[in-house]
Structure formats: structure tokens, C-alpha cells
């Protein structure tokens, strides 16, 4: 368990541009981090022929910007924001409530009777940090065989799917498969608006529709090995010989349309912008042999 309070964050603080300057570096801002980390290692069964151990770790962290004189936005289109009272890496978006089944136009929270939204209607919605995350490792050894499985998971994280952003509103540069369920005729119930080259679907970049739940459970690694019996190894004058196969990223359970662990930027204050054109982590298989002389 920990409770950490950080003050004097060094940030580019915005100033009124009428001064001739837009930002200056200053020690502004205070952030609190509260959380826990827990690791459990257990040996479930241990005997001559069978050995099963489990390792489980889980962490949770909640951070909050306790003090910040002015909000600071990050990345192009100001998708990510630092604001007092909210977590770091929060998203600053227009909230799309639904797609009007009659017209196919998106309907935003705060829009007036004419469907007009203003910058005042932009809201902070969710943030990049998971509520908890961790991993689970199981190792089983039976006689000459060994089996290992590593799962990792996170829950409660959100990411803005830039792949969808670029390819779901502007098919000039390519088209996302989600376009297939766009609004097409009166009565259609969907969250993907009609395809136009005007109107808010096309000309409003900070749409909450692209914000997706990035929680996942992933089988990061599965390995199976076989070690030659000692008697055999001794006879060919070796110390140890192990044949193995390792599979990475065999499956992932997630609601995110894409790989929830990709990002377009390494800027630590603009996390949660899911990759555009970034390939997902590959599923790979390795076969190998370990020989110890």
C-alpha cells in the first residue's frame, strides 16, 4: 500500500497569449497517487514427479491532480488533458450520446435545439489508467515435461482508438470495417453516423465514440518443454538438454477493436491514444532446444 503526494511538477504552464508568449516552464501542479501492489507466490503441489507453482500479482493505482492553476492539453487536437480534480491522462471529448435514427447524425451531450455544440460542451471522460492490472503465472512440471502459462490483465482502462478515428469518418485515406454498420436508412440503430463529407461526424475530431474500454485478459505466453532423461544426457556427455515450444499472444479477450496495448506517442502525459497503423503484437511460435555442456 502506498500514498504518495508529489508537488512542484515541472510542466509547461500556459499563459495568456496576449503577453506574446504561450507557455513557460514552471513548477506547478501537485499530484497524489494512492494504490496497492500485491504478489502471491504459492507452491500448490510438490513431489518427486509433479510440481505446480503459481504466481499472482495485482496492482491498482489512483492518481489525481490535486492542484493545477490552468488546464493543460496534450497532443494534437487536445485529445488528452491535465486538469485539477482529474486523473493524469484523462480524455477531453465531445460526448456522442447516440446516432439519431431518423437523420443518421450524431447527437452530442449539450448540443442546442439546432444540434449545435460549442467548445463549452467538451467534457472529461475516463482516463488511460486501469483500475487494476496484473499477471498470473502457472508453472507445472511433470516428470520430464514442463508447462508454463503467463496471463496478463488490466481492467478499467480506456483508450482512444485513432485507427477508428482516421478510418471511420474519412474513408479518403482508407476505411475501417466498423463503417459497415454505419447509419444507412431511417430507422437504423447504430453508433456509427451516416457517411458525409460535412457535418459533425466529419468535422468534429474529439468524438467520444472512439473512446473504447481497453480492459483485457491476454495469454501472453504459453510454453511446453521436455528435458531428456539424465541417464540419456549423461551417456552423450552433456549436462542438460531441453526441447521446447513457446507461443506468444495466443489469445486476448477485450472489447477494444484492435490491440489495446498500442500507442501513438511516448509522451507520458498523452497516453491512451491507441495506435494508428500500428500493427498489433504478433502471435508467434518458437521452437527450440537448450543444450548445457
Amino acid at each position: 500500500m502506498y500514498n504518495k503526494y508529489t508537488s512542484d511538477l515541472l510542466l509547461q504552464r500556459p499563459v495568456p497569449a496576449s503577453s506574446g508568449f504561450s507557455v513557460y516552464w514552471a513548477n506547478v501542479g501537485e499530484v497524489s497517487n494512492k494504490g496497492y501492489e500485491l504478489t502471491i507466490n504459492s507452491t500448490n503441489i510438490r513431489n518427486q514427479n509433479f510440481n505446480w507453482t503459481t504466481s499472482f500479482n495485482i496492482s491498482g493505482n489512483r492518481n489525481r491532480i490535486e492542484k493545477l492553476p490552468t488546464q493543460i492539453t496534450q497532443y494534437t487536437r487536445d485529445w488528452v488533458i491535465l486538469k485539477e480534480g482529474y486523473s493524469l491522462n484523462s480524455f477531453w471529448l465531445y460526448e456522442q450520446l447516440y446516432v439519431d435514427p431518423a437523420t443518421g447524425n450524431p447527437v452530442f451531450n449539450g448540443q442546442d435545439e439546432n444540434g449545435v455544440v460549442t467548445a463549452e460542451d467538451r467534457k472529461i471522460l475516463h482516463n488511460f489508467y486501469p483500475k487494476f492490472y496484473g499477471g498470473l503465472t502457472n508453472t507445472v512440471r511433470f516428470k520430464q515435461f514442463d508447462l508454463g502459462a503467463l496471463f496478463s490483465f488490466q481492467y478499467g482502462s480506456y483508450a482512444l482508438n485513432l485507427q477508428r478515428f482516421f478510418l471511420e469518418r474519412n474513408p479518403g485515406t482508407g476505411a475501417n470495417a466498423t463503417l459497415l454498420k454505419r447509419w444507412q436508412k431511417p430507422g437504423d440503430l447504430t453508433d456509427v453516423p451516416r457517411l458525409t463529407s460535412a457535418g459533425y461526424n466529419y468535422t468534429l475530431d474529439q468524438n467520444s465514440r472512439y473512446l473504447e474500454d481497453a480492459s483485457f485478459l491476454r495469454l501472453r505466453q504459453l510454453s511446453l518443454g521436455y528435458s531428456l532423461p539424465e541417464s540419456l544426457v549423461d551417456r552423450i556427455r552433456l549436462n542438460n538438454v531441453r526441447l521446447y515450444v513457446v507461443a506468444s499472444n495466443l489469445f486476448i479477450l477485450t472489447k477494444y477493436t484492435g490491440d489495446p496495448e498500442t500507442s501513438v506517442t511516448s509522451n507520458p502525459n498523452a497516453q491512451g491514444l491507441g495506435g494508428f497503423g500500428t500493427p498489433p503484437q504478433p502471435r508467434s511460435f518458437q521452437f527450440g532446444i537448450n543444450v548445457t555442456f
Binding site: 495568456p16 497569449a17 496576449s18 508568449f21 513557460y24 463549452e120 496484473g134 468534429l204 475530431d205 507520458p268
Partner: protein
């Protein structure tokens, strides 16, 4: 996982930082940058000259005359359309722009940066000691240029956003920024006139097309008085440039002022000079990919039809090129074509002075029909079009409006012309009059408590 990676980085960073702490304590005692003394910035002739060049440098930056400022006006009018990937820019053309549009903030910031640079010169240069080379005339000239540039910057702010915060002193330090309320448009224009008058007194009567002189001030004053509907003054100042036939003249054919890598032509009164190190992105944004650009800014389809018709616009068809894009013949603007980024930014050309005088003459309480028609036909004849024989002020004003549209097709005149003449709503079909001013950048509203938003864009 992510957090573990950070903790590793922070550990590395911590080791490096603690190394510094141990080895060079003095390094950390240096005054922070926000407190750099202002006493050492403009102290002699060389630094004064550098400071003035610095104002021009900001004036021609990409967020001001280099690209983004003309973009705001061009897209707000009906001559130009945006076809690029930042589709949100189309909201300027549809007059549904929101206050968080990116270029609004970058242009605003860039203009005020120009103003602050001018404020520094105005504040410090007049009190510098003269020398044999740094004569009073040189000192006056440098100060006068700063007054002119500040006037131009405020003029661009006011005609885009309405009355603004008038900052007339240089910013000394981050802590010295004070709250200033917006002035009315009227007061802002009054301040601009003060600066123009100061510049007029200080500047020499020489001819220079890339640095301000007394003549540059006259040209901007002609435009200023036209905006304020002070017809007699507009006629007077426009006439001073038109009458200077030794130094200024209309060139034929029309394309002479820009084609074949021209710059500094006799037609130019004020333009900004770019070279391969100080570049702009106009050509890159206007030209098709087959000619080294990305073609995101293009003539609107309706306007391309008009501008490609020589019977209507004469030689100004030279502003267009037709290039296939994905197999479809497509119109592109060709005023900016130097893809090495050296197209001048054309701010005032002599042709504008003729049309200013034509409009002012037709708008007088007793219209000068003949004079107005002569000025208008001068521009038409140069473009290889026949003279019009119009006999009433309303007919002339309509013809002048169209002539302005063709003559300055891609020079960011159209939107401002329609707004100042009260014609924007009728011509562009804008139902909501609040959309005639652009919204104050939302980021500025948030960071500056004394800055109020224009009506029609939220609170």
C-alpha cells in the same frame, strides 16, 4: 507493465540527476529562464536592428502570414475550400466553427507574439543613444517600423475577432502579466490609427517593398479608412500611392507580379520575403502532389468555374491550373507555386489601392461616378477585360465587389471585404450574424480570466 517501465526509467533518471547534484551544484544555481534580465536585450544599433527584423520574422511565420492567418480568412469566404485531412477546418467555410479549432489559437498566439516584439522595440529603441551610424533618422525608422507592424497586427486581430485586448507594453516576466479586458472594436481601431500616425511621422518617404516606409503606412491607411468608411481619407491615401508613378505601376500581363519567381515588382507595395531557410508552406498546401504539394487548400468548385472563365475574369485565369488528381481533372490555385517555400506573402499591391479609391469614390455622399469607374476600369483593362460603362453607385459597388473577388482571389481579401461591406450574410448565406466574427480561441478563454468570448460561441 506500464508502471513498472516508468519506475525503471525514473530510477535511471534519478541516478543521472543525483550524479549532477553531486558534481555541479553551481549548475543548479543559475537563474531560471523566466527571470532573464530584460536590460540586456535591446541596447545598441545592432540589437535594435535585430529586434526589428525579429518582428518581421514573426509576421511571416507559418501561423501568421506564412499560412495559417490567410487560411482562416480564405476558408471563411467563398473562394477557397479545404480538402485535406484536418476536416475540422471545413467548419470555417460552413460557419459552424467551434472555439477549439486549432489554427484559431496558433494564429492568435502568433499575432500577439508579433505585437510583443513590436512593443519591445517601441519601448526601448527611442531611448537608445545615437552614434555616427545609429543616427536619429535610423532610430526613428526602426521605431516607426515597429509602430507600423503593431498597427498591422492589431488590424488583423480586430477585423477577424472584433475588439481585442490592447497590450502596448512589452511583457517583462511571466509574473508581470496583468489582466486586461477587451477593448471595443472602435477603441481598437482608434489605437491602430494612433500607431499609424506615429509610424507616418517617424518613417522615411523612401520606397521599400519588404520593409515599412511612409508609403507603406499610406497604403495601410487607405485600407484602414475604407474599413471605417472614411471615404475622403481613403481616397486621399490611395491617391498618394497611385500618383507615385515613378515607383509604382500595374504590370501586364496580370501574372507578372507572381509568375516566373517574381518578387518585389513595381506593383508590390508591401510583401514578405522568404528564402530557403525562412520558408512558408503556401505552395505545399496549394499545389497538387504531382507538383510537390499536398493540395489541401483549393479553389472552391463554384469559384473555379468563375475564375476559369476568361470572359468574366480576363487574364486572372492565370491564377488557376488544371491538373488530374486520381484521374479527374481538378482545379488548383497557382498563385503560390514555389515548392521550396519562397513564395512572397503579398500584403498590399497597387491594384488594391485602385479598388479602394474606386469604392470610396462611389460611396461618397455625392458619388464621384466617373472617377470610380476610371479606377475600376484600370484594373479591368490590366486584366485584359473591356471597360464597363456603369453610371450609378450601386452598380459600381457591385462591380467593385466582384473585381476584388477576382483580383485578389487567393490573397485573403474576400471574407474581410464581404464582412466590412455588410454583404457577407447575403452572399455567403450566413443566417446568424454572430458568425461574422470568429470565436476567441477556447484555450485562451480558459487561461485568461479577463478574456470574454464573442457572442454565439458558448459563454
Amino acid at each position: 507493465m506500464q508502471h513498472k517501465k516508468y519506475s525503471l526509467y525514473s530510477f535511471l533518471l534519478l541516478s543521472i540527476v543525483s550524479g549532477f547534484l553531486a558534481s555541479c551544484k553551481k549548475f543548479l544555481d543559475v537563474e531560471p529562464k523566466t527571470a532573464t534580465s530584460d536590460q540586456v536585450t535591446i541596447v545598441d544599433e545592432a540589437s535594435a536592428r535585430t529586434a526589428v527584423r525579429g518582428i518581421y520574422n514573426q509576421l511571416e511565420s507559418n501561423d501568421y502570414y506564412g499560412y495559417n492567418f490567410p487560411l482562416l480568412g480564405n476558408l471563411s469566404g467563398d473562394n477557397v475550400q479545404y480538402t485535406g485531412s484536418q476536416a475540422v477546418n471545413k467548419t470555417l467555410t460552413t460557419h459552424t466553427v467551434r472555439a477549439d479549432l486549432g489554427p484559431l489559437a496558433s494564429v492568435w498566439t502568433s499575432i500577439y507574439n508579433t505585437i510583443n516584439r513590436a512593443n519591445n522595440v517601441i519601448d526601448k529603441v527611442p531611448s537608445l543613444n545615437t552614434t555616427t551610424t545609429f543616427t536619429e533618422a535610423v532610430r526613428n525608422q526602426l521605431t516607426g517600423e515597429a509602430y507600423f507592424l503593431r498597427a498591422l497586427a492589431y488590424f488583423d486581430l480586430v477585423r477577424t475577432w472584433g475588439g481585442v485586448q490592447l497590450i502596448l507594453k512589452p511583457t517583462q516576466a511571466a509574473g508581470s502579466i496583468t489582466n486586461v479586458a477587451r477593448s471595443s472594436a472602435q477603441d481598437s481601431y482608434a489605437q491602430i490609427l494612433k500607431d499609424l500616425e506615429a509610424a507616418e511621422t517617424l518613417l522615411p518617404g523612401t520606397t521599400n517593398r519588404i520593409r515599412a516606409t511612409k508609403k507603406t503606412v499610406w497604403a495601410l491607411r487607405a485600407r484602414y479608412h475604407l474599413y471605417l468608411k472614411e471615404w475622403a481619407a481613403a481616397i486621399d491615401y490611395a491617391g498618394r500611392l497611385i500618383g507615385d508613378t515613378e515607383n509604382y505601376g500595374l504590370l501586364t500581363p496580370y501574372s507578372t507580379f507572381f509568375a516566373n519567381n517574381a518578387s518585389n515588382t513595381r506593383e508590390s507595395i508591401f510583401e514578405l520575403y522568404y528564402n530557403t531557410t525562412v520558408t512558408n508552406t503556401q505552395a505545399y498546401n496549394w499545389q497538387p502532389s504531382s507538383r510537390g504539394g499536398i493540395g489541401w487548400v483549393r479553389p472552391s468548385d463554384a469559384f473555379a468555374t468563375v475564375l476559369s472563365n476568361a470572359a468574366t475574369v480576363g487574364d486572372r485565369t492565370q491564377l488557376l491550373i488544371n491538373v488530374p488528381a486520381n484521374g479527374i481533372a481538378t482545379w488548383y490555385g497557382n498563385l503560390y507555386y514555389r515548392t521550396n517555400g519562397t513564395d512572397p506573402a503579398y500584403i498590399i499591391r497597387l491594384a488594391e489601392l485602385y479598388l479602394i479609391r474606386a469604392e470610396a469614390r462611389a460611396s461618397l455622399p455625392t458619388p464621384d461616378i466617373t472617377g470610380s469607374r476610371e479606377d475600376l476600369n484600370k484594373i479591368r483593362n490590366r486584366a485584359n477585360l473591356g471597360s464597363l460603362s456603369l453610371n450609378t453607385a450601386p452598380e459600381l459597388l457591385t462591380a467593385i465587389e466582384n473585381e476584388n473577388r477576382y483580383e485578389f482571389a487567393f490573397e485573403n481579401h474576400r471574407w474581410y471585404d464581404l464582412v466590412r461591406t455588410g454583404r457577407a450574410q447575403a452572399v455567403l448565406g450566413i443566417t446568424d450574424a454572430t458568425k461574422l466574427l470568429l470565436p476567441i480561441p477556447y484555450s485562451q478563454i480558459l487561461v485568461d480570466g479577463s478574456l470574454t468570448q464573442n457572442p454565439g460561441y458558448g459563454n
